[in-house]
Amino acid sequence: MSNENRQGVFPFHPSQPIQPSPGKPGDDHQKHSDRNKDDDKTKASMESVKELGANNIPQVQSSIHCLSIVGQVEGHMVLPPQNKTTKYEHLIPQLVALEQAKEVKGVVIMLNTVGGDVEAGLAIAEMIASMSKPTVSVVLGGGHSIGVPIAVAADTSMITPTASMTIHPIRLNGLVIGVPQTYEYVEKMQDRVINFVISHSNVSQEKFREFMFRAGELARDIGTVLIGQEAVEAGIISSVGGLNEAINILNKSIEGNGEYVQ
């Protein structure tokens, strides 16, 4: 299919005009291969416009990397295509790369998730928690269910004033058979989430369980919705803030490590 037939594809304008630069005659070969590299880059950005509807911003080398976790956290099962998902098997090697790369000084994690697979979520949360580099998480629209442990996994967690976090019990919906065993299994899964959250934030186990089983707050469920400041008062999130605050905190902790150079 040609580009003209696809919706949402605009003619491509390179962000920087290609200019001949003065140089030694011997540089020609080098320049040529650079141009090829640029072509590859523009090709890649065209692909992402076509396939994902996302436009690549001109690449700026940054010492901070941004990891966004959106939609459903997809784990052991591929979800039907109407779900927007974050695939954990792709995120985990990315976290390894970020931990290992010398030029990456800090990671900011942007969360807007409706939860998802318990084990995939906990895996991402454990990876973030065990990173040696400074990490800051920002809950943007929502950080629900399994988004809660991911949010608290970062060194500093933030929430925007309007963002919400739903805390509710884990229910049986997996492919598990056997009633008494199943009950215990779900209890254990729930304890894993609770233990992670209380050990990475200032909320107490009693308080978190109370949020989880509170009746009369959610229309079709038990549990609690915490909005912005409420999540901070509960001790789950460190502070209310947005992008500016998150980047400032990250830069400060990078400076603290004696590595930050601007």
């Binding site: 629900h144 739903t166 959610l218």
Partner: protein
């Protein structure tokens, strides 16, 4: 596997039955081993990378879901 989400499960799993078991094959994309799904029109959609090099996962042209040419 347990899903922990405030969204109704019926809504999340809707259409699960119609999901055909997709035809996948293992290929090399510019030196990176990957699993691609063969679409009905013959194009290839990247499902996941099979590489053990974490740097490969940082490459913008190798994000799951993109169309790849082999």
């Amino acid at each position: 596997m347990i899903l922990y989400t405030p969204i109704q499960l019926e809504q999340v799993l809707q259409g699960l039955d119609e999901m055909k078991s997709a035809k996948t094959k293992q290929v090399m994309i510019s030196g990176v081993p990957a699993l691609v799904q063969v679409e009905e029109d013959g194009s290839n959609k990247l499902v996941k990378l099979l590489s053990t090099d974490p740097e490969h996962y940082m490459r913008p042209e190798l994000v799951p879901g993109v169309q790849v040419k082999i």
